[in-house]
Symmetry: C2
Subunit: 334 residues, 2 copies
C-alpha cells in the first residue's frame, strides 16, 4: 500500500466518527493522497475540463445516424459556453477548455477553441489504420502539452472531455483489442444507434480487430483503431499522472483512452479517479480491466466530460474530510 494512502486511511480512522463510516469517500481520499504523494492531499481545485474534439473516418461505415458535421456544430456550441459540459462544470466550479485536435468540417478557427488540429479526422478504421504512427504520436504529445499548460496555469485537478461524432466505435474497438474481447461484447448503442446501425458498428469493429493479434504493440493498436481525441486524452492523462495531478476520467471514450495510456505507461491507472460509469458496455469492461470503481453511476452516456465533472465536489469533500474534521483525540482533549 502506498504510504500516503495508508496515512489517509489512518487519518480517517482517527476522525470523530465511526470507523469506515464515510464508505467510498474514504477510499477516494486515500487515492487522492496516493496520487499527490502526500497526506492530506491538496484540494482538487481549481479544476479544468479539457474537451478534445475530432472526427472519425469510420463514420463512412454508417456506425452512427448523426451527421459528421455535428462535431463542428457542437464545438461551436461549446465555444459559446452553452453545451451540457459547461452547465455541469459551472455546478462544480470547474473551467472548460475546448481543443480541436482533428475536427473535419471546421471552416475557420473558432474563438475560444484551441487549434491543435493534427489532421481533419482519421481514416476509416474498418478499412485501414485510422492514424499513422507519426499522427498518433503527435496526438499524444498535444494531449500532454495541454495538460502541462493547464497545470502551469494553476489547475490542480483535470477532467477528460471529448466530442467526436462516431467515437464510441474507435473507443469500443480499443477496449476490445486491449482486453481481448469480441466486437459484440464491447459494442453498445452510443448516442442512440438502432439495430441496423448497431450491426454495422459491430461489423466495422470486427474488421478493424481482424488486423490485430493480442501481442501487438499498444501504440500500433492505438494508431490503428483509435482516434485523434482519444490519443490526445491518453497523453493528457499520462502527463497529469507524471505531475501527480489527479485526472477525473469521464465515460467510455475516456476509459478507452486511459486503457491506452495504461498499456503505454503501466501504472497510470493508479494516478486517476474514475468519475462515473457510462451505460456503454465497453466502459464497464475497461473499468474492470483497470480495477477502477467509478464514483458515480447515474446511467449517463453523453460524454463531453459531463459525468466526470459531476464527481468533482466529491473529490473536494474527501480532501476536506481529511483536513477539516476533528479527531477523536482533539475531542477527548477538550
Amino acid at each position: 500500500v502506498d504510504p500516503s494512502a495508508r496515512a489517509a486511511r489512518e487519518r480517517f480512522d482517527a476522525l470523530a466518527k465511526p470507523t469506515g463510516s464515510l464508505g467510498r469517500l474514504e477510499a477516494l481520499g486515500a487515492r487522492l493522497a496516493a496520487i499527490a504523494g502526500s497526506c492530506p492531499p491538496p484540494r482538487p481545485a481549481p479544476a479544468t475540463v479539457a474537451v478534445f474534439a475530432a472526427d472519425h473516418g469510420v463514420h463512412a461505415a454508417g456506425v452512427t445516424a448523426w451527421p459528421q458535421e455535428i462535431t463542428s456544430t457542437m464545438v461551436g456550441v461549446m465555444a459559446s459556453g452553452r453545451a451540457s459540459v459547461q452547465a455541469l462544470a459551472a455546478a462544480a466550479q470547474a473551467e472548460v477548455v475546448v481543443v480541436d485536435v482533428g475536427v473535419a468540417h471546421r471552416t475557420a478557427p473558432v474563438d475560444g477553441v484551441l487549434d491543435r488540429s493534427i489532421r481533419r479526422g482519421t481514416r476509416d478504421l474498418s478499412v485501414e489504420p485510422a492514424m499513422t504512427l507519426a499522427e498518433v504520436s503527435r496526438a499524444l504529445d498535444v494531449g500532454a502539452e495541454v495538460a502541462d499548460e493547464l497545470i502551469a496555469g494553476g489547475a490542480r485537478c483535470l477532467v477528460t472531455g471529448e466530442m467526436g461524432i462516431g467515437n464510441t466505435t474507435p473507443a469500443s474497438a480499443l477496449v476490445a483489442a486491449y482486453c481481448g474481447r469480441s466486437a459484440a461484447e464491447v459494442t453498445g448503442r452510443g448516442a442512440g444507434a438502432d439495430d441496423e446501425t448497431l450491426a454495422r458498428k459491430v461489423g466495422a469493429i470486427e474488421s478493424g480487430l481482424s488486423r490485430h493479434d493480442p501481442g501487438d504493440d499498444p501504440l500500433v493498436v492505438l494508431a490503428s483503431l483509435g482516434g485523434l481525441e482519444i490519443a490526445a486524452m491518453a497523453g493528457f492523462v499520462a502527463a497529469a499522472a507524471s505531475q501527480r495531478v489527479p485526472v477525473v476520467i469521464d465515460g467510455v471514450i475516456a476509459d478507452a483512452a486511459l486503457l491506452a495510456a495504461e498499456r503505454l505507461l503501466p501504472g497510470v491507472r493508479h494516478r486517476v479517479v474514475a468519475g462515473h460509469r457510462s451505460t456503454e458496455p465497453a466502459a464497464t469492461i475497461a473499468l474492470d480491466e483497470l480495477g477502477l470503481e467509478p464514483v458515480l453511476d447515474l446511467d449517463m452516456r453523453l460524454g463531453e466530460g459531463t459525468g466526470a465533472v459531476l464527481a468533482l465536489p466529491l473529490l473536494d469533500a474527501a480532501v476536506r474530510a481529511l483536513t477539516d474534521v476533528a479527531t477523536i483525540a482533539d475531542v477527548m482533549g477538550d
Copy 2:
C-alpha cells in the same frame, strides 16, 4: 405525470444532446420541477443542513457500544464547526445549523446550537412508548418551525441531518412497523455493533414492535418507537414540502423520518430527493417502500447529513442543465 415534470422532460429532450443521455440527472431535474411546480425549477441554493440532535432511552437496553454522552460531545464538535457534516457541507457550499431537540447530557446552552429541547431524551422504547403524543407533536412542530425559519431566511434547499447515539434502533423499529417487516429484517450494525449488541438491538426492536398492530395510527407508532430528532425531521420534511422547497434526505434515520411524514401526510415523498443509500438494511427497505431511488450510493453510514449534502451539487447541475444548455432549435437556428 406532473405538468412541470413533463415540461422538464420535454426540455431535456430538446437540448443539444442525445435523448436521455443525461440519465438519472434528467429524472432529478424533472423531480425538482415537480417539487417547485415550475420548469425550470429555481436553483437549489443557498442550501442549509439542519442537524437535529437528541438522545434515546433505548440506550439503556445495550443497543450500542457508544456512551450516550457522545451525543452532547458531537453537538459540541458541530458547534465548533469541525464535524464531518460541516467539512462535506463546505464542499457543497451549504450552511449547517444544529438544533437540540432532546440531548440528555447537555450542561448548558451551547453557542451556535439552537435550543429547542423538548425533553432530555426519550423513554426506553423496548419497555414503554418513547414519547407521549404531546411530546411527539411538539417535536413535529419544532421541525416544521425550523424549516419555516430557514426558508424565511432565504434557504432554497434543505437537507436533513441528525445526531443521536443509538438512533438506528428507533429508526429501524419505525421502518419495521410502517413497512410490516420483522426486527431481524430491518436491523443493521449502525455505528459498528458487534454480534451481541446486534442481538440486543433486534430484541429491543421486537419488544417495541410487540405493542403494535399494522393498522395502528401512524402518530401513535411514531411516539411509541421514534425519537425526538426523528419526529422533528418528519415535521421539517413536511413543512418544506408544503412550501415546495426541495429537501434532500440523508440516510436511515432520515428515511425513517420521511416514512413517518409520508404516513402522516401522504404524498410528501413526491416533494423530496433521496440523497444517498445508507448501508443499513432499513434504509433500502424504506426507500423501496417510498419508491425512491437515491442519487448516490457510496457505502456511507455516518449520518449527520453527510450523505445527503454530497448530492447537492448534482441537484444544482440538474437545474443548470435545464436553464443553461442550448436546444437543438437554438443550434440549428444559428
